[in-house]
């Protein structure tokens, strides 16, 4: 794999790039596999849809997750409802798997804060400040341990995020407090325009674990079964009281960083093409078809169903009323100070008199 600077290191694989079984099958039912497959399609279609909407001025900045569906789905699928998930902006598919309704997410990409965020999914809103959420994940896990609850937290960030102080503090707290947390580095090769090779001189990010006393796993992040298996074990290991795991998933950002980015400025088309050949959805699809778990002719139909689901979600999101112009005052604190109340009144007067 091109990203590896140490050719001796081989990430954990169950399916090779051709979809052939090269490892031990995890205990997973056919339905479950089909559901993972569908979730990957949902992630890709959602991503493409929001990008299309953005081009039409109907959505805000969005970061493509195409190429990373195996990691996004595989990291969330083994989580139980009581488990907590703290992600960056890249893992929208993880949030969907964990139960956040698609219209809620689509609404957020209209540029609004969903006022009905499903707290019970235990998904934190996406984090914009790189690396920051990893400490929140560790704190959630420490809390679960203190409370004696059988809950685990999963924190996810990118390869770039590993350079932030907070990422390393999170690893350290996880190790010191033996927190029931799994810290996932989605190594997609790039941090906007900065390649993995300029992000760290170490051969892998998994190697970071040892220096913090945290066991680490290096996984083929385009292999849904490998990610699922690794995450299942790490999560249940944490739940069993055996402490944290660092997981590096090797994957690739096929698209632009976000809708505001132009990757032709800084990377070779050939590299992208090479990674397309390792497409996580195609790989799993081949496997499922070869095993007769999915009919080849069903694929197109399934994609269309998914598209319809996403289109419907977007329709719902677009039919939801915009946030009230002044509602941002509602969420500064449980109660507003008199001064904030006066400012809110001022704003409402302005809206009534000037805008309307």
């Amino acid at each position: 794999m091109a990203i590896q600077t140490d050719p001796g290191l081989v990430p954990y694989q169950i399916l090779d790039a051709g979809g052939n079984l090269v490892g031990k099958m995890p205990g997973i039912s056919a339905e479950r596999m089909l559901s993972l497959y569908r979730s990957m399609q949902v992630g890709r279609v959602f991503s493409n849809k929001i990008i299309a909407l953005q081009r039409q001025g109907r959505a805000t900045t969005f970061g493509s997750l195409v190429g990373q569906e195996a990691t996004a789905v595989g990291l969330a699928a083994p989580m139980q409802p009581q488990d907590w998930l703290a992600t960056s902006y890249r893992e929208i598919a993880s949030l969907i798997v964990k139960g956040v309704p698609i219209p809620t997410l689509a609404y957020s990409f209209r540029g609004f804060t969903p006022e009905n965020w499903p707290a019970e999914t235990h998904c934190l809103p996406v984090q914009i400040v790189i690396g920051t959420q990893m400490l929140h994940a560790v704190g959630l896990a420490m809390a679960a341990k203190i409370a004696g609850d059988p809950a685990v937290a999963v924190g996810v960030c990118g390869d770039g995020a590993t350079s932030e102080g907070d990422f390393n503090e999170a690893l350290n707290f996880a190790g010191v407090f033996q927190a029931p947390v799994v810290l996932v580095v989605q190594n997609n090769g790039w941090a906007i325009s900065v390649p993995r090779s300029k992000q760290s001189a170490a051969s892998t990010f998994a190697a970071r674990g040892e220096g913090f006393g945290v066991p680490a796993r290096l996984v083929d992040g385009n292999d849904i079964l490998a990610v699922y298996d690794t995450m299942s074990k790490a999560i249940e290991n944490a739940r069993a009281g055996n402490g944290p795991t660092l997981v590096e998933t090797l994957t690739y950002r096929i698209g632009a960083h976000t809708t505001a980015d132009d990757p032709t400025r800084y990377r070779d088309a050939a590299e992208v093409e090479a990674w397309r050949a390792r497409d996580p959805i195609a790989r799993f699809q081949k496997f499922l078809i070869a095993r007769d778990l999915l009919a080849e002719q069903r694929v197109q139909q399934l994609i269309e169903e998914v598209e319809e689901e996403i289109n419907e979600a977007v329709r719902i999101a677009e039919s939801m009323p915009p946030m009230a112009p002044d509602s941002f005052f509602d969420y500064v604190a449980a109660t507003l100070s008199p001064r904030q109340q006066a400012q809110r009144a001022d704003l409402l007067r302005y809206i009534n008199q000037v805008i309307q």
């Binding site: 969903p114 965020w117 929140h136 707290f173 941002f328």
Partner: protein, 325 residues
């Protein structure tokens, strides 16, 4: 009971740990050592290492994990060893803790108390004496509490812990042991956001908080004795939100105002109070508002700090000017 501020805070923490199973207390050196100022003394023994524990030396780690815990449903009370180090965890404080409710439209909240010693006059190393309260005026989401005496400290800390949102609780180092005051041993609370008129007066209002309340009172005494000026001294207690009604009421009565704080002048609490008075009491104001504050320089070394800090004499100078004495 007569308590120092240290004892009052310790008592408040013990009571909160007792009253609410969700309360956890952590930070650097707060366990066996009882905190470098002993505010958390005995708490680990009493409440166990699971609820009162030391962390690695990482402020962002402390605030970041406390946010996760608060979201989970605990009520963390964390210590940053000196307020000067709040800058190390600034992102977790102001872009994270202060915005959890905002970002999630209320789905999640962050009931968190961040305690930090601050304040000058005690010959500390660099960055151990800095006053940072006004930095947080520009980063909405935190309440900022600065008690001036043991009684207030205990009651305000109780309210901070009960507050559903994050509170920055700044403890003046010089006040920690400088005097005792009658303080109930049982639980009580003092509402956040309400100033306290510690001395009524009619000629000029002095607004202060933390250790500067005593400086203001000292100046007020001098002013009364030496010039017969009747000074109203208002302890803000909470510097955000400001008790604007109390500020306006006092200035409408006296027509003159002085603000005293240790932090640098530019963009300090004094600037905001001046703006509030300008907005609310413009026509009652007889004289320019005086700001007696730290200078617009970093906090100096121990050998110079006495020159940097506001003193009763500096307040008197401002007062003579404002009273045309």
């Amino acid at each position: 009971m007569q308590m120092t501020m240290i004892e009052a805070l310790n008592s408040a923490l013990a009571l909160e740990l007792e009253r609410d199973r969700r309360v956890v207390v952590f930070g650097e050196d707060i366990g066996a050592n009882g905190g470098v100022f002993r505010v958390t003394e005995h708490l680990q023994n009493k409440f166990g290492e699971e609820r009162v524990f030391d962390t690695p030396l990482a402020e962002s780690g402390i605030i970041g994990t406390s946010i996760g815990m608060a979201i989970y449903g605990l009520r963390p009370i964390v210590e940053i060893q000196f307020a000067g180090f709040l800058f190390v965890c600034m992102n977790q404080l102001v872009s994270q803790a202060a915005r959890i409710r905002f970002r999630s439209a209320g789905a999640y909240t962050c009931p968190l108390v961040v305690r930090a010693p601050y304040g000058g006059g005690v010959r500390t190393p660099e960055l151990h004496s800095d006053s940072l309260e006004a930095v947080f005026l520009q980063t909405p989401g935190f309440k900022i509490v600065v008690p001036s005496n043991p009684y207030d400290a205990k009651g305000l800390l109780a309210s901070a812990v009960e507050d559903p949102d994050p509170v920055l609780f700044l403890e003046n180092i010089k006040l920690y042991r400088s005097f005792r005051a009658e303080t109930p041993t049982e639980h009580y609370s003092i509402p956040l956001g309400k100033a306290n008129v510690v001395q009524e007066g009619t000629d000029v209002s002095i607004f202060a908080y933390g250790a500067m309340v005593n400086v203001a009172l000292e100046a007020a005494k001098q002013a009364q004795q030496e010039t017969g000026t009747s000074v109203e001294v208002i302890d803000l207690r909470t510097v955000w939100p400001l008790d604007e009604d109390a500020i306006a009421a006092s200035v409408e009565k006296t027509g003159r105002a002085i603000i005293v704080h240790e932090a640098p002048r530019a963009g300090g609490i004094g600037a905001e109070i001046t703006a509030v008075i300008n907005e609310r009491c413009f026509y009652s104001l007889l004289k320019p508002i005086g700001r007696v504050t730290g200078y617009d320089t970093p906090y100096p070394v121990p050998g110079q700090e006495d020159y940097y800090l506001p003193t009763p004499a500096k307040v008197m100078t401002a007062l003579r000017e404002i009273m045309e004495l």
